[in-house]
């Protein structure tokens, strides 16, 4: 029920500006963007979709920051693994 999935806006419908067509993995659907009327949405933006409505605009900078954190953790881990395999205490 909390099912929310990211989708990319392909176009805002001209005759119904509260609707947009989104693409999720090649699958397209019209969704209602009325809850985000204060954002200025355009094609190429990513939104979180829940039961046919866009709930939030995905903040690409935050997403990037989140991924960088994970990369950083990954890097530290990889270095530790490398150190582990190189070290020889015998």
């Amino acid at each position: 029920m909390c099912l929310g999935i990211p989708g990319e806006i392909i176009e805002i419908l001209t005759d119904r500006p509260d609707l947009a067509r989104v693409d999720v993995c090649g699958v397209k659907r019209a969704i209602n963007i009325g809850l985000l009327e204060d954002e200025e949405l355009s094609a190429g933006d990513w939104v979180l979709i829940h039961v046919g409505f866009a709930m939030s605009k995905i903040d690409e900078r935050e997403a990037k920051a989140a991924l960088e954190f994970l990369e950083g953790i990954g890097q530290a881990y990889a270095e530790e693994l490398a150190a582990l395999s190189e070290s020889n205490i015998t």
């Binding site: 099912l3 999935i5 999720v24 993995c25 090649g26 699958v27 397209k28 659907r29």
Partner: protein, 385 residues
Amino acid sequence: MTKQGTAAPDQTQANWAEEAVAEHAGAVHLTREEQVLERIDRARRRKARIKEPRITMSHGAGGKASRTLTEAIFLDALANPVLAELEDAASLTIGTAKLAFTTDSFVVSPLFFPGGNIGDLAVNGTVNDLAMSGARPLYLSAGFILEEGFPVDDLRTIVASMAAAAQRAGVTVVTGDTKVVQRGKGDGCYINTAGVGVLERDVPLRAASAKPGDAVLVSGPIGEHGVTIMLCRGELDIEADLESDTAPLHEIAAALLDAVPGVRMMRDATRGGVATILNEVAVASQVSVVIDEAAVPVNPMVNGACELLGIDPLYVACEGRLVTIVDGTQADAALTALRGHPLGTGAAIIGRIKDDPPGLVLLKTSFGGTRIVDLLVGDPLPRIC
């Protein structure tokens, strides 16, 4: 006006729930986590019983409820050893001839969809049931139940498709029947088919034959038929460039059997999807089926649609894909044989059979964790074949 909000309203009981509790009262309460499987297993081994007074859509989904219906009603009354095998086709010996015999009904809605129509499904579906039992499909029957008002041109198109599909599969429709029901009493067109094939190979193919060390293969990307149907029902307002995968599997099955002597079983993944077949094998053979999620081929659009709707592609129907279990040492040969056929270009080895825990299908997720893939409960996609 609702009484919700008034103080201490009347309280009643849910009789079905009280009965369920009473039925299991006296079962020893195994509390440790390790014993959970045992407890569930014991509960499941009880004799199948239908508790509902009426048929619901779950009974047609191919999952738990379908199985219970089959066991509690049909097997119970019609009891005989051939039926009890519950394979896709019955193996019969008449004199010196060994035959495979199967039947299937098609109630798909809509009747016409990208990649085919109910006619294609009808022929391919029955051909496949025969092919999966190792038989060479020969003869089909076709019974039609038509609704008053159904356009004759639509019927012409459906039957033309059947003729083409029959020719492609090398079978002949040798007998048939037509009935018409009043407007509103049938959904346009239902088709029932029966098929007969000859068992020329002496290779027993049964869900109970899987052994630890065996390999699990699938002949191509899964879920295309089910998702195509769901999307083109038009209720979900989703567009995608997807087609049903309906196809006759007799040639690819024969190619597999020719190349690989150690084929334990084959099934075409229809209602209930790949997961349903794997569960049947796990239970029938009392083995564990371990699948690698990353190895299961899925079209990205099928994935996208499933993500959007919260459905697992493993449970979504196909109509032209086979699942096979082969001797582990012959896995690569099997893969080569499947990939050598045009319908098998996307074939993959998706898992292995282990001995423990018996009766369960396990999935190693692409994330690296593990979970169980249980029998389908309920019906995410009504009437897809």
